[in-house]
């Protein structure tokens, strides 16, 4: 599957940044992800300029934290999303972000290649399932992530009853989970 191969290529590019400070690999990651990070931030309410600055910062963080990336725990798109989300909280909301304690791991735990492969493929299936969700369900999920809205704020904005929003989101998430099995 070519999409899953693309995802494995991103993993390799992050390793190249980590191991040899490879600027070409970084430029490729940059051209793919930075415009999407910027788009995500603008949909979250950031101005063009703030989103640009923030996207640069997110990509610089990718370089700085490349040694912390674990492809058996997250795909590259998931990892970059979490960096962008944290930067958004920090920059737009000026709040600290408490993070869960890391799991204790053994010495020199190199991520298992098969685990990493399986996770990248699963995430790819998830992306496809998201694209195939009925329009109404997908829009609500996007609003919850992009819009900086709680479920009740989505209810106020869309005029749908809160119960409907919650059940649509639940339904959509069930479909997504099913797709990942």
């Amino acid at each position: 599957d070519t999409e899953a191969n693309t995802r494995l290529m991103w993993v390799t590019q992050i390793y190249a940044v980590r191991d040899t400070q490879d600027k070409e690999a970084f430029a490729e990651l940059f051209s793919h992800f930075a415009p999407r990070v910027k788009s995500f931030l603008m949909k979250s309410g950031a101005s063009h300029d703030v989103a640009e600055e923030c996207a640069q910062d997110v990509m610089a963080t990718l370089w700085r934290k490349a040694h912390m990336f674990d492809p058996a725990k997250a795909s590259v798109s998931t990892w970059i999303f979490t960096i962008a989300r944290n930067r958004r909280i920090d920059m737009l909301r000026k709040q600290r972000r408490p993070e869960p304690e890391d799991l204790p791991w053994g010495p020199e735990a190199e991520p298992d290649q098969a685990d990493a492969m399986a996770l990248q493929e699963e995430t790819d299936q998830l992306g496809q399932a998201l694209a195939q969700l009925p329009e109404k369900q997908r829009t609500l999920i996007e609003k919850a992530y992009f819009g900086d809205l709680s479920h009740s704020e989505i209810a106020a904005e869309t005029g749908l009853p809160l119960g409907t929003i919650k059940s649509r989101i639940r339904l959509a998430l069930e479909r997504l989970r099913h797709a990942m099995k």
């Binding site: 930075a34 949909k43 996207a55 040694h67 998931t78 972000r97 869960p100």
Partner: protein, 220 residues
């Protein structure tokens, strides 16, 4: 380091996990979520799924054009000496509570500055953004928190001991999610103190006159 919780019965809701993954919860709620996840493998796995959804939502968006010198500016940012390689956080400190909570207390449970708030109950309010508040509560074994309802959402995570209310029993690692529909009188289980981390995004509704007056002074 945390001892692994034997059996957590009460978990975070999907809405809270999704809100935490999306980054839309108040800081006080984030602290309760991060602390529970530090104790709970099940919710940790669920969070990973919600974060993966976030990543795919981000990837499905229409890309926005960057400024012309964007890559150069980023490489300059990386080359900047002030922008150093970040080290992985050192493994958990030796304490009886999870790392995110230690960061807010500035230490372990032994470092908590308890203040009495009446009825034998003590609290310490932790500093967060103003959209919600979070506090540590210490309730002596067998003691009840006055009967109350909720104007918004209340999250109560048990760190030590246990409490029971009209809904169920909650022990270490369990989180109770209460909202407008719930009226309850939590009572600490007999024996050791019950220590909880409790967050609210609206004042509680006390029925008795005395707690209503006390409420003003203790910001519950």
């Amino acid at each position: 380091m945390m001892t692994t919780m034997k059996q957590i019965k009460h978990h975070l809701t999907d809405e809270l996990l999704m809100g935490y993954a999306a980054g839309t919860l108040p800081e006080a709620f984030n602290l309760v979520v991060a602390t529970h996840i530090s104790m709970c493998d099940e919710c940790r796995a669920a969070l990973a799924e919600y974060e993966a959804v976030g990543g795919e939502v981000m990837m499905s968006g229409e890309p926005v054009e960057l400024s012309e010198d964007s890559l150069e500016a980023t490489l300059a940012l990386i080359a900047d000496n002030a922008f150093r390689k970040e080290e992985a956080k050192s493994a958990a400190k030796t304490s009886d509570i999870p790392a995110p909570l230690q960061d807010y207390i500035g230490g372990g449970l032994e470092d908590v500055k308890w203040r009495k708030i009446g009825g034998g109950v003590s609290q310490m309010i932790l500093p967060t953004s103003k959209d919600a508040t979070v506090r540590l509560l210490k309730i002596p074994g067998g003691t009840a928190v006055p009967d109350h309802g909720h104007n918004g959402t209340e999250l109560t995570l048990v760190l030590k001991g246990a409490f029971a209310d009209e809904e169920d029993t909650f022990s270490a690692g369990d989180v109770e999610v209460a909202n407008e529909d719930l009226q309850h009188t939590p009572v600490a289980a007999p024996g050791e103190d019950c220590i909880c981390l409790a967050a609210t995004d609206a004042p509680l509704k006390f029925n008795a006159f005395l707690p209503r007056i006390a409420q003003k002074f203790v910001r519950i």
